[in-house]
């Protein structure tokens, strides 16, 4: 079973946290910090698995992670999951995000937390894997987007009339996934 799925950036800022077991807010934040601490101090090219931190249940749980450019994708799983299988799953997740957001970057995750949750929900439900086929996931997400579009048409006009946001202030944060690290 997958106990938690965490995404945070190189500075430990959480970008997505999904717990499949209940913790209170404080513990969740502590788990994110602890996990970041464990994962971020590891070199590149070491293995992608390590024992879970104390808060999440110690050595009975494994952290399986991938590091893409500025983001860490971490799955905390129990012993019933295949480590390599989960690595593949992370890859499927990232590829799906990339398809849905057309070249995904950290900002997409920040501004579309709800979408990311939706995409994840098409893959993992209650800590178990629902679907691994990327095309199937994307089909579902597209169908939802269509429904959404038909419902928000009335607002688009409104949005387009608004002056654009100050894009420059965000440029410093913008980035993309590096080919090199993602191919690992």
């Amino acid at each position: 079973m997958i106990k938690a799925i965490l995404i945070f950036n190189n500075h430990g800022k959480p970008r997505l946290s999904k717990f499949y077991e209940h913790y209170n807010e404080d513990t969740e934040q502590q788990i994110i910090r602890e996990t970041f601490h464990l994962v971020s101090k590891r070199d590149e090219n070491v293995c992608n698995f390590l024992e879970g931190g104390m808060l999440i249940g110690g050595s009975d749980y494994k952290l399986i992670y991938r590091h893409y450019a500025t983001l860490y994708f971490v799955f905390c799983v129990d012993s019933s999951e295949s480590e390599l299988g989960i690595l593949d799953l992370i890859q499927v997740f990232v590829e799906t995000l990339d398809k849905c957001f057309e070249n995904v970057c950290e900002l997409d995750l920040i501004f579309h937390v709800d979408k990311v949750h939706n995409i994840l929900a098409e893959m993992v439900m209650g800590g178990m894997v629902l679907e691994t086929n990327m095309n199937e996931i994307i089909t579902q997400v597209d169908a939802q987007n269509k429904m959404e579009k038909s419902e928000v048409m009335c607002f688009v006009t409104f949005i387009n009339q608004c002056p654009c946001l100050d894009i420059c202030s965000m440029q410093g944060h913008c980035f993309a996934f590096h080919t090199a690290s993602a191919s690992r």
Binding site: P14, L16, N24, E25, R42, D43, C47, N48, F49, E51, S80, S82, E83, L84, G85, L87, D88, Q91, V92, E95, D98, F101, N103, C105, D108, I110, F111, V113, H117, M125, G126, G127, M128, V129, L130, E131, T132, M134, N135, A143, Q144, M147, E148, K149, E151, V152, F155, V156, I159, N160, C164, L165, I167, S169, M170, H173, C174, F177, T179, S183
Partner: protein
Amino acid sequence: LSCCWLIHRHSDKPAKMPAVSKGDGMRGLAVFISDIRNCKSKEAEIKRINKELANIRSKFKGDKALDGYSKKKYVCKLLFIFLLGHDIDFGHMEAVNLLSSNKYTEKQIGYLFISVLVNSNSELIRLINNAIKNDLSSRNPTFMCLALHCIANVGSREMAEAFASEIPRILVAGDTMDSVKQSAALCLLRLYKTSPDLVLMGEWTSRVVHLLNDQHMGVVTAAISLITCLSQKNPDEFKTCVSLAVSRLSRIVSSASTDLQDYTYYFVPAPWLSCKLLRLLQCYPPPEDGAVKGRLVECLETILNKAQEPPKSKKVQHSNAKNAILFEAISLIIHYDSEPNLLVRACNQLGQFLQHRETNLRYLALESMCTLASSEFSHEAVKTHIETVINALKTERDVSVRQRAADLLYAMCDRSNAKQIVAEMLSYLETADYSIREEMVLKVAILAEKYAVDYSWYVDTILNLIRIAGDYVSEEVWYRVIQIVINRDDVQGYAAKTVFEALQAPACHENMVKVGGYILGEFGNLIAGDPRSSPLVQFNLLHSKFHLCSVPTRALLLSAYIKFINLFPETKATIQEVLRCDSQIRNSDVELQQRAVEYLKLSSIASTDVLATVLEEMPPFPERESSILAKLKKKKGPGAVSVTELEDSKREGGELNGGGDRGPDTASTPSPSADLLGIRSAAPVGAAPASAGSLLVDVFSEAGDISSLTNPLIPLPCRFVCKNNGVLFENQLLQIGIKSEYRQNLGRMYLFYGNKTSVQFASFTTTVSCPGELQSHILSMHLLEPLVEGGAQIQQVLNIECLTDFSDAPLLNIKFRYGGALQNLTLKLPVTINKFFQPTEMTSSDFFQRWKQLSQPQQEAQKIFKANHSMDTEVLKAKLLGLGTALLDNVDPNPENYVCAGVIQTKGQQVGCLLRLEPNAQAQMYRLTLRCSKDSVSRRLCELLAEQF
């Protein structure tokens, strides 16, 4: 699939602005997020968030009804704020309202909020359940999926109660869409995990198994998780899944890489599902049906063969997926442990991986080999890789991999390679990561003990261990070396010599001083012949460490000194001088002071004979499971140390402890506990009476043994027969109060445990057991947190049902650790049959008519007894009312007498009871008569009540 999506975007290209370009509204949200990101300091961020929270709060509270769009926007903002780690204590109601919207977007954001922010014991669950119910019956697959997701995410008991019967129906219905089926399968799995009692197996079970044959691979993917979990709990009901899984696996494994289309991942057909199928098979023994087994073996061989084929792609994803299947196949082969041919192939494959350039594969290979090492077929094959593994321990850059290597060395260790492995682990310890040192120390200590053929090697190893990693040597480890040295007289001289040498080092670890003090105190005489280690030299050496040591170690050293006086009378004057000095005899620590005073006195007044008896050499320790092994097991959690290992060590441990010349003595020890007490009395008399700090006593036993010995059953205070509330038990540590209420045949008892000390109670557990026929009277018991802080009180609720009449009260057992000592007490709970009385009012004529009806001799129970308590009328009345019966006036012709009537409610039947109590004030006697429709009840009530008056 190409890699083109991973374009590296240069900073000079225009940055993407996702929020607006996507054109899906929520500008306010984008602005807010940008604001937060532009905040220069944490304070500014908090300020901005608080402003936003206030804004949203006022919007939610405002008179103007919000439209769906605004609600969605605000809920999104709250989600974002929550992700930043701020508490969200409102908005739940708005989210629940969104659930009943007809618009997908609003419904969806409502569900999202709830699955992220609502926990399973929220009061809103009922409202949420209503919305879910509507969506489940909506026949709109998108809405149904949202609802199923919500159930799976929250997974509370109330939800299980509401939907546990509905979900299986959705899952197996013929007209359910595939995507809904997938969600329903995992939703059911979640409910089964949280409330297995509510998910009842039924006709749907066999149809669930057949989902393994489903056309849609996604449905199979979801269903297999459900089936695996159900199979683990009910293997027999789900047996048929084995052949279905094998045939599904076989179809996948033999398919070409294009057959499965979308489920082919980087040229590997359905890797995730293959892994899950192989995991499912690991829940069962090898198939009995020859054909099925043949097919499975074929699959496994194909998987092993494929590993040798050239890769179809250079991408790491390809080899990842392929190896994921391979590792699961190997796990299955190890699990079956019956095909030597496959086992050896598996071992060779893992051997290849041990030197693979991919760190992940090396890690997994080490991990799998650990399990392989315990198979008798492959243990030898695993051992051939010892050099590679040792090399991994020395050179791997990654601590996780090194740790696996250490685990594997531990697993592959046997008599033939123990010396090499222990030496390597010891040298690794010098540079090992702090995080794994303690575990490494335990492992080295266990291996050294388990495979010791000569004890000088064992002693050397442990002393080295203390020298290299003294800080990580736990008490168990050094207790153990002392136990073994005491039990083996052929090693005592060597131990004394080695420890003496080790103590020469200018800075030696305190644990070394402890071992040294103990061993020289016992066996210093064995090396005293050598002038370089004469008694006085030994003493001076020990005493040179004294001032640098902590109080417990000093206490131990004082005991060693008094033992010296016995061993070497020539040191008496010197040692008495030391004991007499102010820093000892007036030490501010009471334990040290007491030892100094008592030892000084003992040495000056006792005759040599007495001294020799009191300070005699320690008798051998009783054989018992190695305390170190127990510690490792505790550290790694149950299941981490395999049973074989345990038995192994018992066997070997026995040899070590009791084997050899002294075997018979130890073996004939009647019981460890008896011996324990014997040792205690033989301990240096001066030692403070078993105070927590008394080290020597600690060495002999875990305090638990003693306290469980003296664990009396605390009888039930008889006042609780007529009372429902009060203090049930109290000692210096703990107070237990109860409050209880009964209605008909049901009862609820609140137990309050109060910690009277200022120290935390750890591992606090309580269990209730019902003797004999009472088995199922306790319906449920709420679990407790294992920690009770000092001064705190915790509460536990017990639900009780009276199934039939009974005489023994249920037992409550309480265990916890206070300081280091295990406390264990058992007491009777005040649940007596009379608690289930319903009072019955009746007239005099009714009463006597019924009295006559109950005239069979066995229906009546009578007792004449002397009054133990006051015979005051009001007191008696109160007691009789407390009993639960109706006290009937004007029934008995003699106004001095009391009559009562009531019905005892049990689940199966009602028992009518009539009672008559005739006091005789002059004689201070009572006559108590009971007539009940069930004879056992009469007798029991009579016994109970006789103690009350």
